[in-house]
């Protein structure tokens, strides 16, 4: 831990760092793989919608001494689906089971009757409609759509449209992965799941915006210098905020991990598991995508700008000139040919010149070496 502060300093000054932008193709690839897996999982297994969305069967039992959790077990055993069991006022039970039609209900009745020690004839079976009806679902979608439009507009104003687009792609990526994991694990989708997803949506954007904010600041006067290309700057700003990203992710994930592994583990399946799984996957994906996906995407978009292309030319020309002069500066590879440098940085770095903070803190008399020692 004690080294962390130091590492933070070196990250901040750009002495060490991971070449996120240069290696972006690898991460894009990984993300695309995961996303494809998620989509396949969705297509093949589909989502297991809970009773709140689908409706299902309800069984009202007469008085019984069986406890709620026992009844839940036997209902799940009889039907193979999650069941919601509630005690009604006078020790009667109301058991709701998703995905059951009337044909199946007779045999469930029978096995319930055995387990609960009541007569099968005394159990009323009926169909229930969804409590999370179409109206709620439609309005939720509508709200999401409006939010997406607004947030893209907002980000386009606060930052620029490229960042808005990148943030949106990262967001879709997070949601797809989370939903895919759901389909693969086969948990039932409950209102809790939906709410978990919405939480992720907020968090994913939030996290991306924090990284973008630093990127915007770093690249304010980018055209007035010839040390770095946009991609290199983007990389520096990721590395500069890396400590914050790691800390925030740890702090956000720890309680959720507690919910998932301790709470869910102790109880087995349940609402808690549903929510915490979607939250855990989503938060992790959100933190990952803001670093590995969103910012490199912005760099990709930006590098297409004529302005940035010109800058890159100038930067490379300058470096070539410097190299020709025989200065020992090893020009970092341009990101165009995808072969990041791996040169070892000497352990002692000369102190940087204290410049105005709006510009990246320079060091080593202006030799930029974004790709440095690997951690």
């Amino acid at each position: 831990m004690s080294k962390l502060g130091n590492l933070g300093a070196r990250l901040y000054r750009g002495e060490v760092g991971y070449d996120f932008v240069g290696k972006r193709k690898i991460w894009y690839g990984i993300s695309i793989l995961i996303t494809i897996t998620a989509i396949v999982g969705l297509a093949v297994r589909g989502l297991n919608m809970g009773i709140e969305f689908e409706g299902g069967a309800v069984f009202n039992t007469p008085k019984t001494s069986v406890s709620v959790s026992q009844a839940e077990e036997s209902a799940e055993k009889a039907s193979g689906h999650d069941a919601i069991v509630q005690k009604l006022g006078d020790d009667k039970l109301r058991i709701q089971i998703a995905g059951v039609d009337i044909k199946k209900s007779d045999q469930i009745k029978k096995s319930l009757a055995e387990d609960l020690d009541v007569k099968a004839g005394d159990i009323d079976a009926d169909l229930v409609g969804p409590s999370w009806g179409d109206q709620i679902a439609n309005k939720a979608w509508q709200g999401l759509a409006i939010f997406m439009v607004l947030v893209v507009i907002y980000l386009a104003i606060a930052f620029e449209w490229r960042m808005a687009l990148a943030a949106l792609i990262a967001l879709i990526h997070d949601i797809t992965i989370t939903v895919g994991v759901y389909a693969l694990v086969g948990f039932e989708v409950t209102p809790g799941t939906v709410i978990g997803l919405l939480t992720i949506l907020g968090y994913s954007l939030y996290d991306t915006v924090v990284v973008f904010d630093s990127l915007k600041e770093q690249s304010k006067d980018i055209t007035k210098q010839t040390k770095y290309t946009y991609s290199e700057l983007a990389n520096r700003s990721i590395n500069g905020t890396l400590v914050r990203s790691i800390n925030t992710t740890v702090v956000a994930l720890l309680p959720v991990a507690g919910l998932l592994f301790i709470g869910g583990g102790a109880l087995g399946a349940g609402m808690l598991n549903d929510i915490s799984l979607s939250l855990f996957v989503g938060l992790a994906a959100g933190a990952y995508s803001s670093i590995f996906i969103a910012t490199p995407l912005v760099a990709d978009f930006k590098e297409r700008e004529p302005q940035m292309k010109a800058l890159k030319k100038r930067v490379l020309a300058k470096r070539a000139a410097a190299a020709a002069k025989g200065e020992s500066a090893e020009a970092p590879e341009s990101y165009a040919d995808e072969e990041p440098e791996d040169d070892a940085v000497p352990g002692d770095a000369a102190p940087a010149v204290v410049g105005p903070r709006s510009q990246p803190a320079s060091r080593n008399r202006g030799r930029g070496r974004p790709s440095g020692k690997r951690r």
Binding site: G55, W132, L155, G192, P255, L259
Partner: protein, 589 residues
């Protein structure tokens, strides 16, 4: 008041003491309010606390054989859902069961009686001109009701039973279109000292019902009317049942003093609930009584002005129109001017009943008539162990967060932990207070959301701390470092929190039910995050920066320039970065 002594120095950077005092006062006030209100835990949703389950059964009305169909049932579910979830945060659930039942689950601690009234009311609203009016007992028999002679002398509230065109006081909402009609005339109307009430009082004095000149009421209806006994609940409910809105009917209604009943023969309905655009409960300025104001739709306004212009030329009682809600006359104001945009229902309302009626009217009439089949308590759908496990797990997670912060931020973590505690206390007290005020109920997803909010809140000060450390790395001493770091950190915090808040606001406005409840929680925690960082974390940091322990960069302060790898401020020698931070002497920066 627990005002810290240390924070009273009025110095340049933003008077940190003042904000700290402010937030502490807010905390104390909220906590005090919480204990005063007698609710010390947040209301829990039905999934955690259980509640009441009401089963409603749709009834076939005579003359509407096929009314009970899935379409109508779903419409009814939506309307009932809107009614019980008026604010969207009360967590009530509505679903169909079988083909003619609707189950409504209401969380514990909500007003069950009120909820039952809300869900069962059909809210069929008609505006019918009055043809005849009489005291509410069957006319031939001597009255058995307690309507004694003193009643008629009761000073009737002159201003009740008046429809006023309320284009003026619309509760401060600026309307873009100026309402043209009725401002002046409504004044005239208010001053009109012939309320229908006095007529009714005369009627009670033995006069039989005035026979109107041209009697449009059929003989049969007249007969029914004579027999009608409004003091009998059954008879009241049966009055006019099965009669179409397009036919004349009979109905009962409370007389304006709210103690006795009047009966009416009413002309065919001129308007119905669909013509009402919106309804709100309000206090009538002149009388201080609660009324329900209805705003008509465009078409409704036109019809309404047609009706009132006809009625104002009539003699009493035929200058009245009755507002009939579910077959009972809610009020029967007399008309003396043409009215168009608004109507007002007055009666013996208190705040609650006025709000309930307004709520019911805003969401429209149920397509079916329901009656309560059963009301029973239900146990929590998830069981208490889920909440317990969630809270324990959350606590363990929090403990881990605290450990992590201490290890990483050392002394700074004190500020972080204090901020987290303040934020937690604020969230808890506000959620608790919102239980009784807006029926906010906490469900399991919301609990999880609050746990995630820990991360978002912590992020704000992580951003801030990292900024401060970056400034220290630049070689600055702590106080300027804090002051320089703050504006940048503040911008990041605001921009990112705005995104979260935008999500919350949009979802809250657009959605219903559980999603709306979630949006509310998200918005609340986001706002509190900003409040805590601005009014607590930053001032505290400013104060701490003055303390020697932090300012001198003690190695346990989390701001040790050496450990942070800061450059020496003045010398510009080549300095090797310390390999690992062993014990280093505190360095005077």
């Amino acid at each position: 008041m627990a005002a810290p002594k240390k924070g009273r120095r009025q110095s340049a950077p933003g008077k940190p003491g003042r904000s700290l005092v402010f937030i502490l006062i807010a905390l104390v006030a909220l906590t005090g309010g919480m204990f005063l209100s007698g609710h010390t835990t947040p209301r829990l949703g039905i999934d955690l606390a259980g509640g009441t389950s009401i089963t409603l059964e749709a009834k076939n009305e005579p003359g509407q054989k096929n009314a009970i169909n899935p379409d109508n049932m779903n419409t009814a579910v939506d309307i009932i859902n809107n009614r019980v979830n008026g604010l969207g945060v009360s967590e009530a659930e509505v679903q169909t069961q079988g083909d003619k039942n609707i189950i409504v689950n209401i969380p514990k601690g909500s007003n069950e009686k009120q909820a039952r009234e809300q869900v069962g009311t059909t809210a069929q609203l008609y505006f019918r001109p009055v043809i005849t009016q009489a005291p509410g007992q069957p006319t031939p028999e001597p009255s058995t009701s307690p309507s004694s002679g003193t009643d008629k002398e009761k000073d009737k509230d002159k201003a009740t039973d008046k429809a006023t065109d309320k284009a003026t006081d619309k509760g401060g909402s600026p309307s873009a279109t100026p309402t043209s009609q009725g401002r002046a005339v409504s004044e005239a109307l208010k001053d009109d000292p012939t309320p229908s009430a006095s007529d009714k009082a005369k009627d009670k004095g033995g006069k039989k019902d005035e026979t109107p000149k041209p009697d449009p009421a059929t003989a049969k209806l007249q007969e029914q009317f004579t027999k009608l006994d409004c003091t009998d609940k059954k008879a009241r409910a049966a009055a006019g049942r099965g009669i179409k809105p397009s036919e004349p009917t009979i109905a009962c209604g409370k007389s304006p003093d709210g103690k006795t009943w009047d009966k009416f023969i009413l002309a065919p309905a001129e308007l119905n609930g669909k013509d009402v655009d919106d309804a709100k409960a309000a206090i009538k300025q002149e009388t201080g009584a609660w009324v329900v104001n209805m705003e008509f739709t465009k078409g409704g306004s036109k019809k309404f002005s047609d009706v009132t212009s006809k009625l104002m030329k009539q003699q009493s009682p035929q200058n009245q129109f009755a507002i009939v809600l579910d077959g009972e006359v809610a009020s029967a104001p007399s008309v003396s001017v043409v009215l168009s945009t608004n109507a007002e229902i007055s009666g013996n309302f208190n705040q609650e009943s006025a709000k309930d009626l307004a709520n019911i009217l805003s969401y429209g009439a149920l397509p079916l008539t329901f009656h309560e089949q059963s009301v029973t308590t239900v146990s929590p759908a998830l069981g208490g162990e889920q909440l317990k496990a969630g809270l324990i797990a959350g606590a363990i997670g929090l403990a881990l967060v605290v450990i992590y912060l201490v290890v990483y931020y050392r002394g700074l973590s004190l500020i972080a932990i204090a901020s987290l505690l303040v934020s937690a206390a604020l969230t808890y007290t506000i959620m608790t207070l919102l239980g009784p005020t807006i029926k906010f109920a906490l469900n399991l997803p919301a609990v999880c959301g609050a746990i995630v909010a820990i991360g978002i809140t912590a992020d704000s000060f992580i951003v801030f701390f990292e900024r401060v450390r970056d400034e220290v790395r630049e070689g600055r001493t702590l106080r300027p470092a804090v002051e320089r770091a703050w504006p940048r950190a503040r911008r990041t915090i605001l921009v990112s929190d705005f995104v979260s808040f935008l999500a919350a606001a949009v979802l809250f406005v657009v959605t219903v039910g559980k999603v709306q409840g979630f949006a509310f929680t998200l918005g609340l925690t986001t706002l509190l995050d900003v409040v805590v960082v601005f009014f607590f974390t930053k001032p505290l940091m400013t104060l701490m920066a003055r303390k020697k322990f932090f300012a001198s960069g003690h190695e346990w302060s989390g701001l040790d320039p050496k450990r942070l790898g800061a450059k020496p401020p003045l010398r510009r020698s080549r300095r090797t970065t310390p390999p690992t931070a062993g014990p280093v002497d505190p360095k005077e920066a």
